[in-house]
């Protein structure tokens, strides 16, 4: 088990879940590597949450295998889960208690020391009572809830509840964060704060598995992306690979007609869009060279890249 660090943080093989006759998740092969910021993308109802629940041992698979942190789930869930922080389908808290009291109860509910006999040694500080107070304060500080005082959770806004949910996921300094729609209900400023927090944690070595239907969020944060559509994984690749160049070059000029003439294109042809030309089979250097020599002033020229949105729409329709 000493090779655990090099092995995948999350790996599933042919993971399938059927609810009655409905196949929610179909033969999924996920691979999340250590240090990844993994974006798990898919439209509503595509099976993201079911997958997340299976990774955490909440839902039992119909067939297939799951390994989290190198150990099988749910069989070794007791050893694995103390090192996983999770936010599943919105936060959950006892409404009549304060954020601190909620975190205290939740922390006290779990095992005091993680890992049984024979399990690989885990991070020292995963759940002991001695450090509880400090860990709670740290977590609240991290998510920006340090000064909420003793207000009961029922008076919180949705965003504050979401932050509390994140705090509970961070409580034990997890090696893996599994976050299902973590920015739900947060204002734009909050979203940026949380993103910075997660980037910081990731830089310090925490692997982040982020499930979301928001392309923009995933595109801004993730390094690796899996796309789920109707229960099937239709793509799993690095972000840069998914939004690679299309091979076309985009040129913006002051005088489109002159540019068309200089490049030998039919006036008003289908390469023309809003003062821009999209050209096949050429490069930025080549095009600017020809336009400048023809005396056409170039405002902007760049190779066209697919947006993530385009890739995903292509993959899921």
């Amino acid at each position: 088990m000493s090779a655990g660090e090099e092995r995948a943080v999350v790996a599933t093989r042919a993971l399938t879940k059927r609810f009655g006759k409905v196949t929610a998740v179909d033969a999924l092969d996920l691979l999340v590597r250590p240090g990844d910021r993994y974006g798990f993308l898919g439209p509503n109802g595509s099976g993201k949450t079911t997958t997340v629940r299976m990774l955490l041992g909440l839902v039992h698979a119909t067939s297939g295998d799951i390994e989290v942190l190198g150990r099988p789930v749910p069989r070794a869930a007791r050893e694995v889960l103390p090192e996983v922080g999770a936010l599943v389908e919105g936060p959950g808290a006892y409404p009549h208690l304060s954020a601190r009291a909620n975190l205290r109860l939740l922390d006290a509910a779990g095992p005091a020391r993680s890992g049984g006999a024979g399990a690989e040694p885990l991070a020292a500080d995963t759940g002991s009572r001695r450090t509880r107070r400090r860990r709670i304060e740290d977590a609240l500080e991290q998510v920006g809830l340090a000064d909420v005082g003793r207000r009961p959770v029922r008076t919180y806004s949705l965003g504050m509840k979401q932050r509390l949910g994140l705090a509970s996921a961070l409580l034990r300094g997890p090696r893996l964060l599994v976050l299902d729609e973590p920015t739900n209900g947060l204002d734009p400023r909050g979203i940026v704060e949380i993103r910075d927090l997660l980037l910081g944690l990731n830089a310090a070595g925490t692997t982040v598995f982020l499930s979301s239907h928001l392309l923009a969020e995933v595109e801004l944060f993730c390094t690796r992306i899996g796309v789920l559509d109707r229960g099937r994984l239709v793509a799993q690749d690095d972000l840069d690979a998914l939004r690679g160049p299309t091979g076309r070059t985009l040129v913006r000029v002051e005088d489109v007609a002159a540019a068309e003439q200089a490049l030998g294109l039919a006036p008003g042809g289908d390469t023309r869009r809003d003062g821009e030309l999209a050209l096949d089979g050429t490069s930025v250097a080549d095009v600017t060279d020809r336009l400048v020599r023809a005396g056409v002033r170039v405002l902007e020229a760049a190779p066209e890249r697919r947006t993530l949105e385009q890739s995903v729409l292509e993959l899921t329709t």
């Binding site: 629940r53 889960l81 599943v88 959950g92 808290a93 009291a101 109860l105 939740l106 006290a108 509910a109």
Partner: protein, 270 residues
């Protein structure tokens, strides 16, 4: 986990409100009795109530007799129905499970918490009943406390009989709680689980009163609920009390087993 559950139980306003309401009814009855001095005709009204005028030391038993048919089962069923389904509907169940808390451990902790609540409620009613009885109805004075057989009860006698009664009623309630707790692992709605438990209670009560149910009657959960009255007979007939404990234990074991089998293997989708 057990300590956490007990802390949740104690820290929750609802626990104390429901126990307070449970205690309120006997106090109201005691006040009315002391003001009007009209005891229900013997053989009518709640058990033993006819005997408490001027005999406040017997009021804990009468107080439990007042809340037993209706209010106590409701309080217990609601508490037990809340156990797992309440966590599910509040969204906290999944966080407890990924903490991780073992599912069996969670069930055991919930069970301990329910038993604690039940005992707390029964003891509270008995204590409040005693205080209300002694202050409002007076101690026996010249009158002595008697059994149903008309023999005299010493205070020590009365104390142990009341104590056993508290435990017996408590255990009867745990039998009901097991029904609601099992349902609580099936549904995510605490109300549905509580009502399910009460539905079982009502059906059982109806069937017990039905002669046609003769062959199964002795195995119905509420068959021996009123057997605690036997504690105030002389000599105490232990047969029904023992049978009652056995039947309740049977239900508790079977239903908790089913709750365990269901909960430890089901998908948590709340």
């Amino acid at each position: 986990m057990i300590r956490v559950e007990l802390r949740k139980l104690v820290g929750r306003p609802r626990t104390w409100i429901s126990i307070g309401l449970l205690c309120l009814l006997p106090v109201v009855v005691a006040v009315l009795l002391s003001v009007t001095e009209i005891a229900p005709r013997p053989g009518q009204g709640p058990t033993l109530l006819s005997a408490v005028l001027g005999n406040g030391a017997l009021f804990p038993a009468a107080a439990l007799g007042i809340v037993l048919p209706f209010f106590l089962p409701i309080a217990v069923a609601v508490q037990a129905g809340e156990s797992v389904a309440g966590e599910a509907s509040a969204g906290t169940l999944r966080y407890l499970l990924v903490r991780p808390v073992g599912r069996t451990r969670l069930l055991v902790a919930k069970l301990v918490s329910i038993i604690a609540f039940t005992l707390l409620a029964v003891v509270a009613v008995a204590v409040v009943g005693y205080v209300a009885g002694v202050t409002l109805l007076g101690t026996s004075g010249t009158l002595t406390t008697t059994t149903l057989a008309g023999t005299t009860l010493t205070p020590a006698d009365l104390a142990w009989r009341t104590g056993v009664m508290v435990l017996y009623i408590g255990w009867s309630m745990v039998g009901l709680a097991a029904v609601s707790m099992f349902l609580s692992t099936i549904t995510d709605s605490p109300i549905a689980a509580a009502l399910g438990g009460l539905a079982v209670l009502v059906s059982s009560t109806v069937l017990v009163a039905l002669d046609a149910a003769g062959s199964v009657r002795d195995y119905l959960p509420t068959r021996y609920w009123l057997a605690w009255v036997d504690l105030f007979r002389d000599p105490v007939p232990w047969g029904d009390l023992t049978a009652g404990v056995l039947v309740q234990t049977g239900y508790v074991v079977v239903l908790l087993g089913a709750a365990w089998a269901n909960f430890t293997t089901r998908d948590v989708t709340s």
